[in-house]
């Protein structure tokens, strides 16, 4: 785990240095502030991620276990159940907002959500007993470095770190556990104009892989276009 973390940090650093080199090469050719009018400043993203990590975080490697209740006689008369099918939101759903502070640096936040719903059946009658659910909601402030900034394509890396809530509902009793949440995006690409598509590869609460759609709010650009057209 530590090795993955070190490699991730190294990759981010290399990408950041690369971004700087590219910028300095371009600076001499174009106006330093040209990006403010030519590149989008505000961005919204809706994405779906692979939920393997979340499932592992919530459920770990454990299984339903009655073996510990020998010294809990008040549990002896509870229904004995087994878990049936598990329903999920299938993907880890994420919503992000980002603001471009300078050409290569964005700041913003991610909100992610995923839910797992387990149906339990009576061990002896096989009738449905109850449904337990685990839902993971996170809020993570985010920094993104975009190291290739073209009109239609942007390449970027980023890191988010924030807070996550695991909402565990068991037999209608709800228990909320608060924990740290993170997302390291090793590589991300987005392509499009106002509307764009994106794909990311990384590690964290958004998922190993994330794909989705986004929208740029280029207010300054639009005003500029309007003035020029007038």
């Amino acid at each position: 785990m530590r090795t993955i973390g070190v490699l991730g940090a190294l990759l981010l650093f290399v990408e950041f240095v690369g971004a700087q080199t590219l910028d300095s090469a371009q600076v001499s050719a174009i106006d330093k502030n040209f990006w403010k009018t030519s590149l989008p400043r505000h961005e919204l993203q809706w994405g779906v991620g692979c939920p393997l990590l979340e499932e592992f975080i919530i459920y770990g490697m454990g299984s339903d276990d009655l073996s510990g209740d020998f010294d809990r006689p008040h549990n002896w008369f509870d229904k004995e159940v087994y878990r049936g099918s598990r329903g999920t939101t299938l993907f880890n759903w994420s919503f992000s907002y980002l603001y471009r502070v300078c050409k290569f640096l964005w700041v913003g936040a991610d909100v992610t959500y995923i839910g797992f719903y387990d149906v339990y059946y009576d061990k002896f009658t096989h009738q449905k007993a109850y449904i337990n659910s685990d839902q993971l909601l996170t809020f993570m402030p985010k920094i993104r470095f975009s190291y290739l900034n073209r009109k239609y394509v942007t390449l970027y890396s980023g890191i988010s770190c924030g807070i996550g809530w695991v909402i565990h509902s068991e037999k209608k009793e709800v228990n909320v556990v608060t924990n740290w949440a993170f997302q390291a995006t090793a590589f991300g690409v987005k392509a499009g104009t106002s509307w764009f598509g994106f794909a990311e590869v990384g590690l964290g609460y958004k998922g190993f892989g994330v794909i989705g759609l986004g929208y740029h709010f280029n207010r300054q650009n639009r005003q500029l276009f309007k003035r020029n057209s007038l």
Partner: protein
Amino acid sequence: MRKIKLVLSFFCLLCVLAGCWRQEDTVPDTQRGYNIYRACQTWSIFYITNKVDLMMKFNSWYVANNQERNTIKNKWFRQYDIVEIEHGVFSFYDMMNRYEYAFSINTQGKSMADEDSHWTYRWYSGNASPKNQAIGYWWDKDMIICSSFRGCGWVDLHVDREVSDMPLELCWRVSMAEKDSLHSFIDWRLDLQSAEMPQTLFEGDFYISGSGCYKYVENYNSAWHVDCETETYLKYEIRSPMCWYASIGNVDDLCWYGGSMDLEAFDLQGNALPVKAEYVKPKNVKITYKGVSQVWNVQSGRVVE
């Protein structure tokens, strides 16, 4: 384009796999029956090791001369100050715990080996004791399991010598009964395969037969105020004598290697869970619960057959 399709397909496959992935339900059918059996064994072993065996050790001190007494005290009662408060009645004060009263043994002036002996082990169960005794209670978060039969109060365990039919056996009746409740009791017969009185119960094999019932009190309130909300009982009847063996000096290895017993967990709401436990082979017990039979290894806590 082909690569993009491949990556997207892989991504979707991963998501679907993650959604479908789940642990198999590995809890055996007789798990709860085994838990009930284990609870019964845990408390039975507690009474055997902490009470009956202690009385036997004390008997070896009681019948010894002064020189031997010092040796025996250093061996088994190092933490206690033993005070004879009246003839044949000894109180034990815990020197490791602020010299608090721990328990008493009433010998009635006789050795445990005497044929008409009636020994009583008395302790105070419950934290409401003037001496704040914790003996007799196990605190488990918000639940109290009473090792005694009443919430708080004096509990007497009687060990009365009985005459055995067998020539090379020593035999006692071990009994304890709650005055307030018909549900809670111990009524054992303890047989020891030995012609001479041993220093400890674990010098050889011993047999226990009879019946009993343990009461569990669940407390939803503070740990220092007993407010019984629910009561669960574990009643058992030993069908054929349970033979016990312990490696000398290792009571943790105490194991049952013979006999069978019927157990029934019940509460005052009319719920009942009958369980049958039978010895199969060393450290293996067959549990029958809700019509299903499985053999468990008591050491690993797993089903073996």
